[in-house]
């Protein structure tokens, strides 16, 4: 067992443990903190895959920006108390049964699945240079088209966020 394997298993245990912590802890603040730890562990996995760019972006965007937003929302709305409404027993049971059935099906599928090897690509695929090249050659269309998506999201921010002044509506 090399250093790579040891790192992989440690990161995996952290990731799964913290992910469980997210859904099991009663306090929303703890959930968010667990989620941050999960993201860091996953970033570690990206590093092991030699995808430095993805690792950094994951930390900046998810662990940084989005989690700060989560914390802000929790603090501003004062959600840190355990005020989660309790679901009925029957609903809980139905959730467990359907979720468990999905888990069983997926496990059964994954157990017999064949994984095609993707080793044909060079090992430096995750470096920024290669990522940029792929993004601007092979995947240039999705890259450009996504601007329409962001544009409509920006319009949405204006339409929903701007105060409607009835005197202006001529």
């Amino acid at each position: 067992m090399g250093i790579y394997d040891i790192a992989f298993w440690i990161l995996t245990v952290i990731a799964i443990g913290c992910a469980l912590g997210v859904i099991l802890s009663r306090n929303p603040i703890n959930s968010v903190l667990f989620l941050i730890a999960t993201f860091f562990a996953i970033s570690g996995h990206y590093l092991l895959l030699n995808a430095q760019f993805l690792a950094i972006v994951n930390i900046i965007v998810y662990a940084g920006a989005i989690m700060v937003l989560f914390l802000f929302v929790i603090m501003l709305m004062n959600l840190n108390a355990d005020v989660e409404p309790q679901k009925g027993r029957l609903v809980q049971l139905a959730g467990v049964v359907s979720g468990g059935a999905l888990l069983l099906v997926l496990l059964a599928a994954l157990r017999t699945a064949k994984y095609p090897t993707l080793e044909s690509t060079p090992n430096e695929i995750g470096l920024i240079q290669n990522l940029g090249e792929v993004l601007f050659t092979q995947y240039v269309l999705p890259f450009e088209i996504s601007s329409v998506l962001f544009l409509s999201a920006m319009i949405g921010a204006i339409v929903i966020g701007k105060k409607e002044d009835s005197t202006h509506s001529a």
């Binding site: 088209i145 996504s146 339409v159 002044d165 009835s166």
Partner: protein
């Protein structure tokens, strides 16, 4: 390809027009002109592209064939009709009229991507470009609490279904190592991989959500009911139809060779959609809510086309999309004129506005699938597609039974209009121009009913 660029540019033009134009009705006029322009670009694209083998663009990210171009053109035509009929009502929703139209142009961009995508990434982008403007349009009536609720509900549920779609794409990529929907290696069914099958199911659920198939339909009544009516008319027609086109494209082109693996699941979804949509529609008191359940029921019939993996299904989905869209936009246009959205609001409409009552009757006939209207031919084609497949006879019989139920709730409106005493109150008197437009729409419905081949002649 030209149309995608044009739709984006026209959307941006619309945005800047909002900066310059202070008069709402001139914004609407501009939107109508731009919609016609976009239709022109689509027809240019259709004429300029030779009817030979499909052309791939950008490393086969898009694969443009006759079906894609023709479907885009038809949907743009429906949008032109929509802007003409509903443009005036959009003015009343809120102050950002230009932005609403810009969003509609962006939705059209998504429609074009979904009609010609050849790559899972483009599918994802198309679905998102289709959906995000809708979340905004659903919540555009900010003073109305139900509109905000619709927007939030749609956004949260939509984000969840996007997650499921991405999970499905991930599984498919893991199984095949490719995003290209034509190159999927499980096209040969001996190389079948459970991982890929999981992906197929996830993608089916996510797309089923977008077309509001049961049991993923829960959001539909609240969202359609809560959204401002002009935007409900668009969501229920063009958007739903193009989500269906994306659905059929993926499941025929890509998963068609392994159809025996997923048709059983889809047939159960279809049956559930027909059952829930039709039975729940019977109990509604508001016509707007009834129409949203009816759109679920109609989705059940459109699922027939996805279920039948053959060439007739493609024709069926095109005819169904157009016939259903035109009739639904027509009936929503009439609904917007009324003050009261319940069945009682229609009481005595025939005496007050005979023409309005007559066109409504034709639209409802079409939705119910009465012969000589577009809806009949549409149902005929999708059912024929399943019959050719010769596999799901029980589903066809069940579908016909459900169509019979649908006659009940559609005809309740007609009975209210013609046989009940009352004073159907209108917001404003119907102008001459609107009457002409409604008669043209009504003529289109009948034209499709008599010559459905017209819609297939360009393929």
């Amino acid at each position: 390809m030209k149309a995608i660029i044009a739709a984006t540019i026209l959307g941006i033009v619309m945005m800047f027009a909002g900066l310059q134009m202070k008069n709402k009705s001139s914004v609407v006029t501009l939107a109508i002109v731009l919609a016609f322009l976009l239709l022109g670009v689509n027809i240019w694209d259709l004429v300029a592209t030779p009817a030979t083998a499909p052309v791939g663009y950008f490393n086969n990210m898009l694969r443009i064939d006759r079906y894609a171009l023709w479907f885009s053109t038809l949907m743009t035509g429906v949008t032109v009709l929509y802007t003409l009929l509903v443009g005036k009502e959009i003015q009343k929703v809120g102050v950002h009229v230009a932005e609403y139209f810009a969003l509609i142009f962006f939705i059209l961009c998504g429609v074009y991507i979904l009609s010609c995508y050849n790559n899972m990434l483009m599918l994802f982008l198309g679905i998102e470009i289709l959906s995000i403007p809708q979340y905004i349009l659903a919540g555009s009536d900010k003073k109305n609490l139900k509109s905000s609720e619709a927007s939030l509900k749609y956004f949260l549920m939509g984000a969840f279904s996007t997650g499921i779609l991405l999970m499905g794409i991930t599984l498919l990529y893991g199984a095949t190592g490719s995003f290209n929907i034509v190159a999927y290696s499980f096209l040969q069914s001996d190389a079948l991989n459970p991982l890929a099958l999981g992906g197929v199911i996830f993608v089916m659920i996510a797309l089923g959500f977008k077309v509001s198939a049961a049991p993923m339909h829960m959001w539909t009544p609240d969202v359609y009911d809560g959204s401002p009516t002009p935007f409900t008319a668009y969501m229920a027609t063009v958007v739903k139809a193009s989500a269906f086109f994306a659905f059929i494209r993926l499941f025929q082109v890509s998963f068609g060779s392994i159809s025996s693996q997923w048709t059983v699941v889809l047939s159960v979804i279809t049956a559930a959609t027909l059952l829930i949509g039709n039975l729940t529609a019977v109990f509604q008191q508001s016509v707007k809510r009834m129409l949203s359940y009816s759109s679920i029921a109609q989705a059940g019939f459109m699922l027939f086309a996805v279920l039948a993996v053959n060439a007739v299904a493609w024709q069926g989905i095109i005819i169904y999309a157009v016939a259903y869209s035109i009739a639904t936009i027509g009936i929503f246009t009439v609904l917007m004129k009324l003050k009261d959205y319940t069945y009682d609001g229609f009481n005595g409409l025939a005496k007050k506005e005979p023409l309005l009552a007559f066109v409504t009757t034709i639209f409802l006939f079409s939705l119910a699938g009465i012969p000589l209207t577009g809806g009949f031919m549409a149902k005929y084609y999708v059912i024929q597609a399943v019959m050719v497949q010769n596999q799901f006879l029980w589903l066809v019989i069940f579908g016909l039974l459900m169509a019979a139920i649908s006659v009940y709730y559609y005809f309740r409106v007609i009975i209210a209009m013609y046989f009940k005493e009352g004073n159907a109150e209108l917001h404003a008197p119907v102008t001459q121009g609107e009457k002409v437009l409604l008669v043209i729409t009504c003529g289109l419905v009948i034209l499709i009913g008599i010559f459905p081949q017209l819609l297939l002649s360009w393929i």
